[in-house]
Amino acid sequence: MLRLIAFVQLLLVVLYLGRIGLVGVFLATLCLMVLYLWVTKRSLDKIHTPLKYEDMPWLYDSVARMANRAKIKTPKVYILEDYIPNAYSFKDSIVLSLGLFEVLQENEILGVVAHEIGHIKNKDTLLFPLISYGRYWMITLSMLTLFSFNLRAILVSLILLLAYEHQRVRFFKKREFMADKAALYVLERPFDLKDALEELSYYEDLRIKVKENVLPGIEPKIERKQKKVFMEMHPPYDERIWKIMVEAAALDLMGKLN
């Protein structure tokens, strides 16, 4: 669907702006590709430390074991100096914040790692940047259609942009569920991911409560400056936990039947 929307947007620009539109599309694509390469080269900085076997043998071995089960190359693991629990993946690497180790137990950390392995297995580390940059590409093309001075073209272009945004959010949420599902197949104990999500959900709720209730006279600065999110990319914890429980129960049943 996303590809179709992008293709129609491209057609619209070429149709109404002709050769100038084509040059504009080419330049926009080129600029975004350069930006992507520049950003990915700088994605690891001083606050990311590669994990060595001697640091945490239990984590190192478990990552290798889970990657083997997922039939992917063992991802590199980086530790991020951030006290807020966080995890993400890019290319064939996984980043875990130090805050994660403070809040979760070892088995729960493995649950989070399994989810990130799920993203790598599902090629999300390739798709997510592509679709995110596709958004900027769509915005640029929508702006280009303004030069057509054709109200119908401009309106259609804006509708296409909104449709892309809607589909992008749906796509990201779906891929989160898919990563959760993939994680259940690589984990020794599928409920480790559920336990991790419950603790992370509790952490986020508590952060809000601390901000609202405790000592109103003192401004709690421990809150990371949060961007106001127009459309949430991640599905709610409760929905993910519920789906994991259903999937885990189905896996268990299948195991018993076999």
């Binding site: 180790f101 809040v103 952490y203 006279g217 421990i222």
Partner: protein, 124 residues
């Protein structure tokens, strides 16, 4: 005013709880004993008294104490990999001194004559 100075004083509470929320006061009480600890170590200690306590709570409160200036957090690289260790920034005595100074500064700023009168009364 440095951030380690108290901003509130609850007349009905005892000890550190008069200037810090109860769990934060307990964490600081332990931290002043051990001086350096990880959030995990503090959690294990606190769990003895509060069995339902969660790691998240301890982590959030310790980071809050860092923002208050009572603790400082640094990355420790050693056996067991990287982790955050928390250290006290002030002794209990220094903190208590700050509490007293802050209260008297506030009293002198708002009720100067009454404060002087009371001080001279208790001096006698």
């Amino acid at each position: 005013m440095s951030s380690m100075e108290p901003h509130e004083f609850k007349l009905t509470e005892e000890g550190l709880k008069a200037v810090l929320p109860p769990l934060e006061a307990e964490i600081m009480g332990y931290m002043w004993d051990v001086r350096v600890a990880t959030a995990g170590e503090v959690y294990e200690k606190m769990k003895e008294k509060h069995p339902d306590l969660r790691r998240s709570t301890v982590s959030i409160l310790m980071n809050r104490l860092c923002e208050r200036g009572l603790l400082e957090r640094e990355v420790s690289k050693g056996r067991g990999g990287m982790r955050y260790v928390y250290k006290i920034t002030t002794t209990k005595e220094e903190f208590e001194q700050k509490v007293v100074e802050s209260i008297f500064d506030a009293l002198m700023a708002n009720f100067k004559e009454a404060t002087f009168a009371y001080l001279s009364k208790i001096k006698k």
